[in-house]
Symmetry: C2
Subunit: 128 residues, 2 copies
């Protein structure tokens, strides 16, 4: 097994990892926002395009309108969703930028992992 214990915030960490650590505080909010079944379903509906009212979005759930409003607020705080006022309605739509960021982070993690596996594999092969 490689690597001694390291400080998570150390600036001397490998570039890839330190980049991940730097971004993690912001992105954690996005993941937290997506980390609820109700909210994830809301996002899944919204990603089909268009703008939906709270009443519409509530129709697909078993919770109250206010609960849905709160969930939308959480998503909004994380920048995952955006609202537009239309007369007496408030329409919500997806704001994919943050989701894209989150996806990139997961991609980076997977890539980092693959690189590490490859190094280990090469090390093992070199000592045969």
């Amino acid at each position: 097994m490689p690597s001694k214990p390291r400080n998570l915030s150390s600036p001397s960490s490998p570039a890839g990892v330190s980049g991940l650590v730097r971004a993690s505080d912001t992105l954690a909010g996005v993941f937290a926002a997506l980390g609820d079944p109700t909210r994830l379903k809301l996002v899944a509906v919204l990603c089909a395009g268009g703008a939906f009212s709270i009443a519409q979005l509530t129709a697909g759930t078993e919770i109250s309108r206010q609960a849905v409003t709160k969930h939308l607020q959480v998503l909004s705080d994380a920048g995952v969703v955006r609202d537009v006022k239309m007369g007496r309605e408030r329409l919500w739509q997806l704001e994919p930028a943050q989701i894209e960021e989150a996806r990139r982070m997961l991609e980076a993690i997977g890539r980092e992992w693959d690189v590490a596996l490859n190094k280990l594999k090469m090390f093992v092969e070199s000592s045969e």
Copy 2:
């Protein structure tokens, strides 16, 4: 604006979205696990490869060993991380499968969104 209110669990939803909804309950747990700065940093460290003891992982944080243990337990419950007993130590390593699943979901959301945008664009252009 298209689409009337729809039930989030409706089997008559468009294939892409319904697929997302079906998977959302499982994946919400993964997102929730990643939705904490401390845990996200732990994952960022673990993705560099290798297996780390709790004491090692605690060294980079400002919280207690037990707190780190709890976080690792959360990650483990979500299937993001795996532990291996080694003598008097318990070593943790990344388990990238679920993260990959989560990444795919974000990718699907983004794609779905792009498709919807394209349809809207084509509709607008066709009426010029």
